[in-house]
């Protein structure tokens, strides 16, 4: 469903993506692993059009993602950002229902609020949270609200950018389980970037490792554990010694 072919992207002459290619089948959950600065976030942003690749092709259902109606294209996506990226000035329910309060998916305000409360409930938050501002919530609650916002308009494709960063292990487990449940229940295609191996095991159908701007390895979670690829082994075991330089 999502096909990336030979993507290149440099910033101020420094290459970040150097020919990344990847195929994410419809309805599957792909997790991209890799160290900091290997281009994982840039890859996601290229798909969404937040960053324009220097070269290469991005296709969604066989269609060139850079052409056609941008609003209709983005309406197919939901995204959970690393820091949740909630809008500070809006109460929680308006963050969740943001898409339902304006644009082509606009619903009556009361209905949008009801949907927001339902989505909050789905991520384990009660209706009392709906009227609060994001700054009044803990990091874990903000992540849940971000997740509720990502699924509010029931998108076909959901991106998760480092969903467990900054959370304690218990809350990280809760978020991982929620992501897995929601993706399965919605039948959505999910693309997650993380360097948290517990997330990989909880969320992934398939895993791809990005290193040095390219997809170095791809396979199932079982294949990941069994692979002899020294890069994958070093990464999943968290060793300082190996082909991946510890100082990047």
């Amino acid at each position: 469903m999502i096909t990336l072919s030979d993507l290149h992207k440099s910033f101020d002459g420094a290459p970040v993506l150097r020919g990344a290619s990847l195929h994410v089948p419809k309805g599957s959950s792909m997790v991209i692993i890799g160290g900091s600065g290997t281009g994982k976030s840039v890859l996601l942003k290229c798909i969404l059009g937040l960053v324009t690749p220097d070269s290469g092709r991005i296709e969604i259902d066989g269609q060139d993602a850079t052409r056609g109606d941008r609003e209709a294209f983005l309406a197919r996506f939901g995204m959970l950002f690393q820091g949740a990226a909630l809008f500070d000035s809006l109460p929680v329910w308006q963050n969740v229902a943001f898409r339902l309060l304006r644009g082509p998916l606009k619903r009556p305000r009361r209905e949008a609020r009801e949907i927001a409360i339902e989505k909050l409930r789905r991520v384990g938050l009660g209706p009392e949270v709906a009227g609060r501002l994001p700054a009044e919530l803990s990091g874990g609650m903000q992540k849940r609200v971000g997740l509720a916002r990502a699924i509010a308009a029931e998108p076909e494709i959901i991106f998760f950018d480092e969903p467990t960063t900054g959370l304690d292990p218990i809350m990280a487990g809760v978020i991982n389980d929620l992501i897995r449940e929601i993706v399965t229940e919605m039948g959505a295609t999910a693309l997650t970037i993380t360097h948290d191996m517990s997330s990989v095991r909880a969320i992934a159908d398939r895993v791809a490792m990005l290193h040095d701007g390219k997809v170095r390895w791809e396979g199932s979670v079982g294949e990941m554990d069994a692979t002899t690829d020294p890069y994958v082994q070093q990464f999943i075991r968290g060793k300082a010694d190996g082909p991946i330089e510890a100082l990047r």
Binding site: E71, D88, S89
Partner: protein
């Protein structure tokens, strides 16, 4: 190396630096112009977000009233004292009402309100949008099918274009009132005569120029806040730099625009 060759190298280096600076300045002018045109085009095309627009009206207009009022009243009072004491050197103390009126309406009202708006509103817009950028809220807007120029920039720019001329009008009136209060309470002016002289002396062009300057200064203040916010660098340092640069640029552009507009209205 010959003496000429030794001189040529630093000269070429200096010319190179000058050339790079000019190119950078021209590129920045082009970027700001494109940004302004894009923002204007978003004002002209629906949808306009009413909630964002109402909030911007409140923040830029209503909440700026106290600072504009305080600035204007003290400036008007000080102006009356200055004109009275300066005018006394050539027996022209009686022109206080006229000079306060013309000084406030043509010049000090628009410029001081513009600078106060640059300090209060430009900085706040730049800091808010820059923070949204570094916390990925602007990327989030895009993924939620919302154009940031339309959602963040257009409402603020339109609100500034509408409210700053009104703030200038309020500032003009309060400044004249400040002069009136000082002149009638401590300089011995007759209250009725002061007001009559003020109203008789002001012309429609004075008021028109004041409002036109307010509109231009409001546009500059909002645009600079939005531009530097949207182009902020990373982290707290990026937000700080965007905020500082936006206020500097807005203040300089407001003073330059004031010079140009004064020439347009009163050069004949």
């Amino acid at each position: 190396m010959s003496f000429g060759g030794a001189l040529a190298a630093p000269l070429v280096a200096a010319l190179g630096t000058l050339g790079r600076t000019v190119i950078r300045a021209l590129a920045a002018t082009g970027r700001v112009t494109l940004f302004a045109l894009t923002a204007m085009s978003h004002i002209a095309r629906p949808p306009l977000y009413p909630r964002e627009f109402a909030l911007a009206l409140l923040n830029i207009g209503w909440l700026s009233l106290p600072v504009v009022g305080m600035t204007a009243i003290f400036t008007g009072g000080a102006l009356a004292l200055q004109i009275y004491s300066g005018g006394a050197r050539f027996n022209a103390e009686a022109v206080v009402p006229q000079i306060v009126a013309i000084g406030m309406v043509r010049e000090l009202g628009p410029v001081l309100v513009g600078l106060m708006i640059a300090a209060r509103v430009t900085s706040s817009i730049a800091a808010e949008i820059a923070t949204m950028k570094v916390t990925e809220q602007i990327d989030a807007l895009v993924t939620l099918s919302t154009e940031p120029m339309k959602y963040l920039v257009a409402p603020r720019l339109l609100a500034a274009l509408i409210t700053v001329p009104l703030l200038v009008a309020v500032g003009d009136v309060i400044g004249i009132a400040g002069g009136y209060a000082v002149a009638t309470s401590s300089l011995g002016f007759n209250p009725v005569g002061y007001l009559k002289n003020t109203l008789d002396f002001l012309e429609p062009l004075d008021v028109l120029s004041s409002l036109a300057k307010g509109c231009a200064f409001g546009g500059i203040a909002a645009l600079m806040g939005c531009y530097y916010g949207m182009h902020s660098g990373r982290g707290a340092q990026g937000v700080g730099r965007a905020t500082k640069s936006s206020v500097e640029a807005a203040a300089i552009l407001i003073l330059a625009a004031n010079f140009l507009l004064t020439g347009v209205f009163f050069s004949a």
